[in-house]
Symmetry: C2
C-alpha cells in the first residue's frame, strides 16, 4: 500500500509509492524508443491494460476492452495511489502518515501509436477533454477525494515512461499545497478588489499584447509575466469559471482548438520539446468560486531544476516571456 507522509516542518505531503519502483525505467535516464508491437496503449492491445473505466467512439454493440475506440481511460498499472481502502490517519511520533488512497488513471488520447496530441484534430482533442470532464464528474462522487489533478507528461525528459500519447489523472485525499496557494492568493485579491485576479490578468494580457500568443472566442493563450521556465504558457478561459468540469462541451471544443494550436506552435518553435501540462481547477466538491479561475499551465522541459531552485523556490529563467511569446506568435500553429 502506498503511503502519504507529511513533512513536519513545512507540512508538505509526499507519496511513498514503492510499487512504482518495479518499473525499470524509474531510476534510469534514457529508455529506448518503444515498439508499437509491445505498446499497451495501442488498439488491439486492450488486454495489456487494466479494464477501462471510460471509453468513447466504440459502437455499443462491441464488447468493452476491444478495439474500435477513440479515447480510452484505464487505471494506471503502476498507480501512485490505491483506490481501495481507508485513509487511516496515524501519528508516528512527531510525524503524520495516512494510507495512499486515491485514483490514478491514464487517458489514452488516440488508438494510433504514431500520433501525438499536436496531431489530433479539434474534434479528436475535444473527445479527450470531454473524457477528462467525465472522469472528474465520476470520481468526485467518491467522498474520500478532495482534489483531482489532470496532467500530461509528453516525452521522456518531461517524465513520460510510455511514448504513446496519453494524459493522466490523480485523485487525492488532500488539496495540494500548490493549489491552496493559488486559491488563497486569489481570495486575498478578491477580498481587496472584489475582482478575480485571473480575470484581471486576462484583461491586462489582452490589452498589453506583448505576451499574447493566441486567442479564440473563449480562451486566451499567453506567456505568464513571471514564468518559471522558458516558454511556459498558460491557457485561460476569458469568461470567469472556477471549475473545469463545469465547462459545456462547446467550450471544451474551443479549449481543444487553443490547446492543439499551442502544442503545434511549441513543437514548431522548439523542435518537438518534451513538455508537461496541468489543469488547475477549484477543488471538486467546493461550490463555484467568484475568486478562483481554472486554467491550463504548459511547461516545456527545457531547463533543469537545480540546487538553487530546490533550495529557494525561486526559478531562474533565461528567456523573457515577451521574447518567447513573439517567437511563438511567428511560427505556424
Amino acid at each position: 500500500m502506498p503511503e502519504l507522509r507529511r513533512d513536519p516542518i513545512v507540512g508538505r505531503w509526499v507519496i511513498i509509492a514503492t510499487e512504482r519502483a518495479r518499473r525499470p525505467s524509474d531510476l534510469q535516464k534514457c529508455p529506448p524508443p518503444q515498439q508499437p508491437s509491445l505498446c499497451p496503449f495501442c488498439a488491439g492491445h486492450e488486454d495489456k491494460t487494466p479494464r477501462e473505466v471510460y471509453v468513447s467512439g466504440r459502437p455499443p454493440s462491441q464488447p468493452p476492452n476491444s478495439p474500435g475506440w477513440k479515447v480510452r481511460v484505464v487505471p494506471n498499472r503502476f498507480p501512485a495511489l490505491k483506490i481501495e481502502g481507508e485513509l487511516d490517519r496515524q501519528a508516528e511520533g512527531i510525524y503524520d502518515r495516512m494510507n495512499g488512497i486515491g485514483a490514478h488513471e491514464v487517458i489514452i488520447e488516440t488508438p494510433d501509436h504514431g500520433r501525438a496530441l499536436k496531431d489530433l484534430s479539434v474534434a479528436e482533442l475535444t473527445e479527450v477533454l470531454f473524457a477528462f470532464k467525465a472522469r472528474v464528474l465520476d470520481l468526485r462522487n467518491d467522498m474520500r477525494f478532495r482534489y483531482i489533478l489532470l496532467f500530461k507528461n509528453h516525452g521522456h525528459l518531461a517524465g513520460a515512461s510510455l511514448d504513446h500519447s496519453h494524459s493522466q489523472l490523480i485523485a487525492l485525499p488532500v488539496v495540494p499545497r500548490q493549489v491552496i496557494e493559488e486559491i488563497e492568493g486569489a481570495r486575498r485579491h478578491y477580498e481587496l478588489k472584489e475582482r478575480c485576479i485571473f480575470c484581471d490578468v486576462v484583461g491586462q494580457e489582452r490589452r498589453d499584447r506583448s505576451r499574447l500568443i493566441h486567442e479564440n472566442d473563449e480562451f486566451v493563450v499567453f506567456a505568464p509575466y513571471a514564468p518559471r521556465s522558458p516558454f511556459e504558457t498558460w491557457i485561460v478561459p476569458k469568461r470567469h469559471e472556477s471549475n473545469f468540469e463545469a465547462e459545456p462541451k462547446e467550450r471544451l471544443g474551443l479549449l481543444a482548438e487553443a490547446l492543439g494550436t499551442t502544442a503545434r506552435r511549441l513543437a514548431a518553435a522548439l523542435g518537438d520539446p518534451a513538455y508537461n501540462f496541468i489543469i488547475h481547477s477549484n477543488p471538486v466538491r467546493d461550490a463555484s468560486s467568484p475568486s478562483y479561475h481554472w486554467h491550463v499551465e504548459i511547461m516545456p522541459a527545457l531547463s533543469q531544476v537545480a540546487g538553487f531552485e530546490w533550495g529557494s523556490g525561486f526559478h531562474i529563467n533565461p528567456v523573457p516571456p515577451e521574447e518567447a511569446a513573439e517567437f511563438l506568435r511567428k511560427v505556424a500553429g
Copy 2:
C-alpha cells in the same frame, strides 16, 4: 540587467536572467565532457574567471589570481543577478518587478580537475566550508541582501554546466518562499511547544534509528521522514543553531566529515549520481532564532519532476527512506 518578477497570484518571484542564455549549454541537454586544458576553474587558468573575492592556501607573497591556492571564490561569469545597482521596485499594471540585484559567486573547491567533493580530505573540505562562511560574513554587510543561499550542483543531470568541482552562492534581495515556509513552520511548532522542531526531529531520528545513515559528535545524517526524491538526505547539527555562519571552524570540520562521508556513500550506493545540496540557514541579518535550525539537504537527481509534481507540489517517491538509509548504512563511506 536581470529582472525579478513576481507572480501576481501566488507571490512567487522568478529571475529573468537573459545573460545566462548566452551559455550554449543552457537550452541543451547533454554537453560533452570538458577538457582540463579548457577548464576555467583549473590551477593556472585564473585569468579565465572574474577576479577572485576570496582565496585560501596561497602564500601571501604570491599575487592574487595566480596558482598555489586551495579554495578560490570568484563571481559567476554568467550571473543570475547583478551586484551593481538599486532595486528600483516598480509596478507594471497589476504586476510587480525589481532589478535583479544580488551576488552570484562560485566556490572552486579544489585546483585539481580530477577530484570531486567526495575525493577531498576532511581538512580540504573544511577549507571549502570555511570559505562558505567567510563569503556569507562578507556579503551580509551589504544591506540590500536579505538572504544568502549556498548550494552545489554536481553532474549535468543536477544542473552543473562545468565538470570541475564547485559550489555556488546567491545573495538575494528577498527571502525565498521555501525558506519562509520552513521558518514559519518552525515558529508555529515553537509557539505550541517551546521547542525547536528540528531538534525534535533529530531526537526522534536518533532514537528510532531506521532512517539514520551516519553521525559524529556534532552532526546527524539521516533520510527525512517525507523525502521528495529517492535517497534525499539531510545533515543536521545536533546542537541548536539557527545560522550556518555562526558555526566555529571546529564544528565545520565535523560537518566536513559528515558531508564527505555522505557524498562517498551516495557515490558507492548509486554509482556516482548527479546530486544537489543546499544549505538552509536563518536570514543573514536576523538575530539567532530559538525556533529555526540550519541544515543541509542533499538530493540525488534520480527522478524527474513531471506534471504531477509541477501541478501539485506533491512528490511521488518510489523509495521509502527506511530502505534508502539501510542501503546507505551498508556501503563504505
